[in-house]
Symmetry: C2
Subunit: 398 residues, 2 copies
């Protein structure tokens, strides 16, 4: 029998999705599981989206152009304009969520064996995509105890080699909840300009920030053509199942290249491109209530976690994740314990162990990511369950 | 300024999609353009699909599981059963059209520098995907004058090296309209078993065949675990804009690997997975009229093309393409002439030059692919325009 490729063997199972079987088992036993593991918003989709879907009048469902349906692209142009970013249609290509935008950006900047600088802990799909594309990710570790602050410019520069092609900036950040400040952003842009690197700016969570107003890195004056923005409607409109994102750049060579890649896979959903137009055109109406809701949740979750003995959390300033350091030897084992062996009043929680979000071996082994994608009352129950679970786990291991 | 990757530079623009600007120019001049270049069916989507879309009741649009929505997978199981293929849910993973299925299958079987045997002319996305993934495609040329018949087993085997990982079988074939016969299929399966290779079987056009009944390679008794089936609803239900396909295999290692890749990009459209269930469950009701319509068209187009002086066509037995050899030095130039400089009663056609469908340099330069995705009357006009265009092109070049 032929065997699978080594890249296929190397790619890891999603640390977020691999617990699905355990969740199903727990639910079979009648246990209610609060799901804080996936970035899957509990909030409703703006109703106008489904209205648009129902209003689609064409009897055909043809391929969209690889460059996107014109009216959809116009809506993106209008969307970015509010952040001071003026775009031409050829600066935008729609993608299958931000995931595909990331993958195509990686392919466009790096060949097999090339390097890309990333900050860890890191949204885990980057790791898989790098393996699939034969690219080496070079990590710079950010620490919860330092509020995930960037190290000195010289330290970042010390990681650059002749094979380095790009730096990844996820802002607001998944999985840490970090919000980049202007000095950090300027530092990365200057490094990019000085060392001739691309910046892959992942702004999926743009509007979900709890300090300052939403921004777009492309509004910057420096290193404009070095930036490749990857984006998505999934989180800001609470609709990850829609699978629409985009890649945006002022760099013509990059856009020409990504268009050729996009042509190979033809197009992204026709129906969705049309239905998203009104949402993109009036985005703030939808994103502002969402932002306020997550802000409220972030404060409650941060407060409750801070009060648990020996748990350390950095205050999240964006996205809808909080990264917690737990008093356990293995967060992986603890998460399994919670879903397989523990319940409080017949309820338990599922959260994500963090070690797979790191590239450096051995980091994050006592950290978890908690996605606060449940209403406040359920979040309170969840953190309470976590607190009791930690005690039970400690007693079990005494 | 940093430069794009070499793979980005190497990937070619779609030979099908690169003429869009010329089409727009012609249309601006008021010329009606019959579009026979893309595989974009003119037939209506089964109405029940839109009914299902409108009936979606959930107010959320969550990620689907990477392994697919259970009921959607059950519908695929039912769909394949009619072809004698019994599957478990873990044998099927939904993908973003057949395009993504192909790409993930390539990554699962081959590492950078590995080789995959293909038959040329070849559906052009395979070429782009191979460049993106760093895989070498090794072509075996099939000739129109031989009705695209497979060469002797020994000849195919002579192309196998220690780096060869798989053979691609597209049946019915795009771009040639070839239908593989049982002897050819058995030959490839035997080669795969003997040399420990995977078979990537692309059956996007399964039901669109004009001889025999629809089959699935997975119903075969030999080399079952060598086969990776890639599939799509785009053509059989006339809905390429829906972006749903799947990858199917009895090989557990392959499915485990593709699931890990799939997890990295999260999921495929939630709404579409639900809406497709009734179509997959009663597919024949929808595919049979489609098959008959294309059969009728194929005969008319074949007949009319055969009657044009110095044009050679092989009779198409499946899909909705016909490959024609024209009395021109450069099909590329001729296609450009037709869209830029020619019209008959203010009408013209756009078709695809074939050289980019070949891997071997210099082949196909006088060949075109014609997609018969228009109603019969318009097809008749189109072939008439082609005939007049050939004369005008000849006179111009005298």
């Amino acid at each position: 029998m032929p065997t699978v490729s080594s890249r296929g063997q190397k790619v890891i199972a999603s640390p977020i999705r691999k617990f699905f079987p355990f969740i199903q088992e727990a639910e079979k036993k009648g246990i209610k599981v609060y799901k804080l593991n996936t970035g899957d918003p509990d909030l409703s989709v703006p109703a106008s989206f489904f209205g648009e879907i129902r209003n689609y009048k064409n009897k055909n469902l043809p391929y969209a152009p690889s460059s996107g349906i014109r009216e959809h692209i116009t809506a993106w142009q209008k969307y970015y304009k509010q952040f001071g970013v003026e775009l031409e249609p050829e600066n935008i290509i729609p993608t299958v969520g931000c995931a595909e935008a990331i993958y195509l950006a990686l392919l466009a900047v790096a060949d097999v064996g090339d390097e890309i600088l990333v900050f860890e802990p890191l949204y885990v799909s980057y790791k898989s995509f790098a393996i699939m594309a034969g690219i080496k990710l070079v990590p710079i570790t950010l620490k919860a105890k330092d509020n995930f602050t960037l190290p000195a410019t010289e330290f970042i520069e010390s990681k650059i080699t002749s094979r380095t092609k790009a730096i990844v900036v996820i802002n607001p950040d998944n999985p840490t909840g970090k919000l980049w400040n202007d000095i950090e952003l300027a530092s990365v842009l200057n490094i990019a300009r000085k060392h001739n690197l691309f910046v892959i700016a992942d702004e999926t969570y743009r509007e979900i920030r709890f300090k300052g107003i939403p921004t777009c890195l492309l509004a910057n004056k420096i290193a404009k053509e070095n930036i490749i923005l990857v984006d998505s409607v999934s989180k800001r409109f609470s609709m990850p199942g829609v699978r629409i994102g985009c890649v945006v750049s002022y760099n013509k060579e990059i856009m020409d290249t990504i268009l050729k890649f996009a042509q190979a896979r033809l197009s992204v959903g026709t129906l969705e491109q049309y239905a998203l137009i009104p949402l993109l055109e009036n985005s703030k109406k939808y994103t502002e209530p969402i932002r306020l809701e997550y802000k409220k949740r972030s404060e409650i979750v941060f407060q409750m976690l801070s009060e648990i003995k020996d748990v350390f959390v950095a205050r999240p300033l964006g996205a809808f994740y909080i990264n917690a350091t737990l008093p356990v030897n293995s967060a992986e084992e603890f998460v399994k314990f919670m879903i397989k062996d523990f319940s409080l009043n017949n309820e338990t929680i599922i959260i994500s162990p963090m070690s797979d979000f790191y590239i450096t071996e051995g980091l994050g082994i006592n950290e978890v990511r908690i996605a606060y994608v449940l209403p406040v009352e359920k979040l309170k129950c969840s953190i309470d369950i976590l607190s009791h679970g930690l005690k039970a786990y400690k007693n079990k291991n005494l």
